[in-house]
Amino acid sequence: MEEGLLHAVQGFMYPNEVELQWSILIVLYPFTTGLVAGAFILASLERVFNVQAVKPTYRLALLSALAFLLVAPLPLQLHLGHPERSLEMYLTPHTSSAMAMFGFIYLWYLMGVLVLEIWLDYRKDMVLLARSETGWKKTLYRVLTLGVDNISEESLRIDDKLGRFITIVGIPSAFLLHGYVGFIFGSVKANPWWSTPVMPIVFLFSAIVSGIALVLLMYMLVCFLKGISIDMPCVDTIARYLMYAFLIDFSLEMLDLIHRIYEADESFKSLDFMAHTQLYTSQIIVQIIFGTIVPISMLAFIQVVKLSEAARKGIYVLAGLLTLMGIFAMRWNVVIGGQLFSKSFLGYTTYKMAFATKEGLLPAILLMILPFGILWVLVKVLPPFEEEKAAV
């Protein structure tokens, strides 16, 4: 135990509890995988449930999911360190532990679902681009089409059929991906802050919420940057889905909270104290009030009061940003909050976040910027909007 850390301890901590082992990077992991699962589930709405209104965001949602999925394992690898062997987490998956399942789940979702679905959906565009482009771009699209120039009606029909099948398989996969992340926490029976069977489903619904908010914001941002007019029925529908998903998510979280308060088991006093002290700002203020109640109220307000387009756009941007902040705070409160109290329920420690270290704030910021960079490249290579396709 480092002597210096003892200043951060209040009451009694066991020696192995003083220093937090899971840092902000482990907060990023459920946050990014949640964005992936949520964005994918929104895309599936159009494909499987035929919700035409959200169609303009279908491809952007898939590309956003891919950009964040590519970044999702990086915080884990940074946290593991040892670049010479951290890759083994993909190569030695094992069914004996939830954490060791990562290799199976990640590779299946990335390769079996997301990449394949995007490829099938974009194949026609890629063939057309391979025909019209010149130079290295032509070569790039030729490689992406695997050298097949055929876009006959029959081949596109087969693509569509297969794509629909993959989406249907993809929905439970997306549920699995994020439910699994929740399960990792929910199954830790030694930690009463985490150990609840509701955890996977709370993670899943909060993932759907964050993914929908991300796609809503990205769609508005990309439209703004490209000078395309925003399809208002589309964003209105997405905002409505965001509110529904958020209401379910909030109800589940409150159910868990009420259950804990009513049950008041031996851990309750300790956890209650923590929620009123160290986690007060991040949980009560940021997560529950500004990250949940305010955006839900804003979205509900729009459902009952008719507002102008500009006002609605403004509200959507603000509600989307608050939602992402609230879901990030939720991940923070789960991961960091679960390590702040002692198993003896007699003491508390503090999380001291470093800045420019392997697990500090700086790599966390860079890791959150990276998916937007990847998305920018993806949008350049695979234009997501119909208008651009028509121009090809």
Binding site: F12, L107, E154
Partner: protein
């Protein structure tokens, strides 16, 4: 190629690419996963041998009391009989091997006792606990108490 297969050519190529990917994955797995992984469990069997060759840092109290007979006599049968020498004096395998090589760590007698005896509600009531506000004048604990035999008469 017949029309039916022609419209599926891209899928055949994608399937082939996946097959290549799976083969690559298996090759990477064979190359990168260390030998002996999984022999005894989900870890590298060689890690056990690696750990065994590391020199022990602790000697154990049987080694200490071979030479330090005065301390042994004071300590035997006392309340600290269950506390290892190296719990306070640090890891001393090197010193046990060659007594001239390194001297035992001498803990600060003003603070070392608080490691275990500082008052804390989580500790059993019967365990002797000291609240420095009431029972500490800033001096060394071993001014009054014998660390090797604390239950015997305090030093005068």
């Amino acid at each position: 190629m017949n029309r039916f297969l022609k419209d599926k050519e891209h899928l055949v190529r994608m399937a082939a690419l996946f097959a290549v990917g799976v083969v690559l994955f298996l090759i990477l797995k064979a190359v990168l996963v260390p030998k002996g992984f999984g022999v005894y469990g989900h870890y590298r069997a060689g890690a056990l041998a690696d750990n065994r060759v590391r020199a022990p840092r602790f000697a154990g109290r049987s080694a200490c009391i071979e030479c330090h007979t005065d301390e042994r006599d004071a300590w035997k049968g006392g309340k600290h009989a269950g506390v290892g020498c190296e719990a306070c004096h640090g890891a001393l395998a090197k010193h046990a091997e060659d007594p001239s090589a390194s001297n035992a760590f001498k803990p600060d007698p003003k603070t070392i006792c608080f490691t275990c005896h500082l008052t804390n509600a989580a500790k059993p009531r019967k365990f002797p606990q000291i609240d420095p506000k009431n029972h500490f004048d800033g001096g060394a604990c071993n001014g009054c108490h014998s660390p090797h035999a604390p239950d015997k008469e305090p030093k005068k």
